[in-house]
Amino acid sequence: MDKTLILAVLIPVLGAFTLPIFNKISKDLRNVMAVVIAAITFILNSMLMQSAFSEGIRFAITFPFGFDFAFKLDPLSAFMAVVSSLTSLVIVIYSIDYISHYENQTEYYTMVILFMGSMMGLVYSDNLLWMYIFWELTGFASWRLVGFFRGEKDVTKANKTILVTMFGAVVMLIGIIYIYLNNQTLNLSDLKAREIAVLPAVLILFGIFSKSAILPFSTWLPDAGVAPSTVTSLLHAAVLVKIGTFAYAKIFGTVFYTPESFNYAVLIITGITALVSGGAALIETDIKRIIAYSTISQLSFIFLGLASGSKMAFAGGILYILMHSIAKASLFLCAGIIEQKTHTKDITKMGGLVKTMPLTALAFALSSFSVMGLPPFGGFFAKFIVFKGAIETNDIIVPSIFFVGAILTMLYLSRLFYKVFLGNEKINAPSEGSPTMVASVLFLAFVGLVLGVMISYPYSYANTTSEIMYMGVSVK
């Protein structure tokens, strides 16, 4: 199993750089290889997930200064890896049609696979410094992907993306060095169950918030919507913003005891973020920006689960990561189909698309329901458990802020669906997307539904993970 662990990271990371070579042979081969690498990564991760609860699966190469290159399998990592490799796989399959008429395709596939690989490296890392290294690699990949179109505006937004996230990362590095000099180690296994001081915790939180686009760093995420929809879908659903939530869960949930005041501050900030971004989503008219703001508000719910301080809420947060990834990937890919067929992103110019694009509309609706939290979709259970866990901690202010946030979610998604799919037809005869693309979005939408119907499986996994791993707040 140790070998599987290292392969799950190395195959996509190194495989990414073989794609330019395959491209020299044939373009189709390159596309096939991209899918194959993504599929292998998914399969390896699924295999790892089966033995996630057995102890001591670890791979390490000793580095000087305690910067060990170490990977460790734990239930949380395996879960995150499976979720993001599954969504990435669907996105890569969808890309084959979607991206086929643009330039820079080789670079695109290389970066997508590298992105996925560095995500795997990040989730399995057992060393804070290596976590940071993979973190920066994802930043690099997102820079190239957001700047996929090489217009003036695209490149500017790409630079904004990398500068904001790297600024956060550098601040986080200060926190990591702080921890290193206090504890003389960065191995998470060795740091387990220690107290963390407020200062390094805040510094690391800075990095997490910049990556997850929580206030005050939220502006880069909607701006990154200039990229092709597959990229934004990847950023929002599978990898980039989830990194922040994952790192929070891992560092503050399962390694350190965190001070209670710190957790409370996180809840307040994310609560405000949920409101602000929900409001922004209500007034935006660009379809991708609306979904982007929706991501920001949903991420706040994940933080609500992770930071509330009860095991139940933590399990809910983990579930929420899964449900949101599936639903948001589907929403963005739908937006990609719509954008490609109508040649606009402005929802005021759309309308009545349900007649011409019924399958896309169906997928969009199912995924929206999941994000809104309507039963029996997966999103409902995740939201329910998060709220239940949060209320268990006997605080009323935070859950009420988030309750308003949840209502806003329903409002802006209904508005979006209405404007795009219902009402009068404004754009003439856009046809349905290509079969692969529609199949991808329908697949994701139904996965969301199935996960809701069979909630007991993911729930018991999340619950056990939380029982075993969650450290809780500081006793002091």
């Binding site: 000087p64 090489r150 490149v155 060095i177």
Partner: protein, 466 residues
Amino acid sequence: MVTDFLSYSLIPLCSALAIPFISRKSRRITEILANVTLLSGLINVGYIILHYIIKMDYSSFTFDAFTLLMIFTIYLVGLAVVFFSTYYEVENDTNSNSYYSLILISVSAMCSLVMSRDFFTLYIFMEAISVCSFALITSSNSKNSIEASIKYFFLTFPASVLIIFGISILMLNYGSFDFDTIKFTNINFLTVIALSMIIIGFLIKSGIAPFHFWTPDVYQGSYSPISAYLAGIVTKIGGIYAIIKISQILYNSGATYKISALLLFTGMLSVLIGAFGAMVQKDFKRMLAYSSISQMGYIILATATFSPLGIFAAVFHLVNHATFKTVLFLNSACVEKNTGTTNMEELKGLEKKMPYTSWTSVIALLSTAGVPPLSGFWSKVLIIIALWQSGNKYYAVIALIASILTLAYFMIMQKKVFFGKLSEKLTEVKEAKFQLLIPVITISIIIILSGIFFNRVYFYLEKIIM
């Protein structure tokens, strides 16, 4: 002087002397001789170093690792520049006899400088390097380059005066210039005065703020491959190296009379002035020159801690700087050759036309900005840790945050020069010749590999401190 490595400085010297005679027969032979001399040296020293890095068995390791590493770096950059010049068609622009001779002489002088074990020898070879540089800057015989050379001469000669003054005081005080003699005797106030004068002299030579005014003009004005040579290695060996040596001397002595604090301050000043200066530049080479000032600041910060880890980090960053700055300057030379300008306002969208140049400069700039897992990241992290451990927490934090400035100005550069829509004037531009890309690609690979196999590089570099 240590004599173990004497052949590394004598062989290039002999080649340099032979070149004027054989060049009468054929220009080709000149080029071949220059390349072969440096290549054989590089293979030799590279083999020794790689042998230890790969085997990781240091039981038979007896010689001075620091000197050897410096020689490796000198040869690497020297060969890259000479090879590049061979296919850059320097014979159209310059008098190629003296061009290759001068490069070889300065390689020889630099090797001798890193072998020296006393201040006087150090000073002599520093002057030899400077004289070669004055001549090399003017290679292209253009008005700009002569202006740059004159500036370089007038703005850095006070350094020589200061250094010779400092050395005289040392002589009066100890009766010796030897590093070890000074290191193992008690350092008194007079020594500190002398060392301070020497340090200021070398700070001027290496273009650290507030003495940085000559660097942008010189790097911009000089002949393009020579800019890479100067920025990559010459001003570093002729300046920073000596400061690292002095730092090693002061490391053992308790009384440093605030030299550390002053160095930290100038280092920080350089980091910031260089970074902010680079952001507003319109010229590619000038921007790289400011970036160089900023990176030198990091090295000074590391040396100023006077701790083993700091010296280690400084040496590592010096080597890394030699690699990535050479790549960037050589790329700027390619851009200048193929488009006829280095003005970033006129350049745009070269990525399509020059993909390899674009990608190698991305690698080099990310390494400069300290993005993992490239080699520049490790040296920067070590600098930060060294600063923090020596109690200069705030400098560590500012230095780390400043690396985001580095990333920012490089993003601006990359956006202007390589990304974006191709401007109409540049539709005829082609990728640089394959041969011109070889040095750049090779060094980029070194950047990536030394970053990924950092643990092995570390075990080698550890010998420097011990």
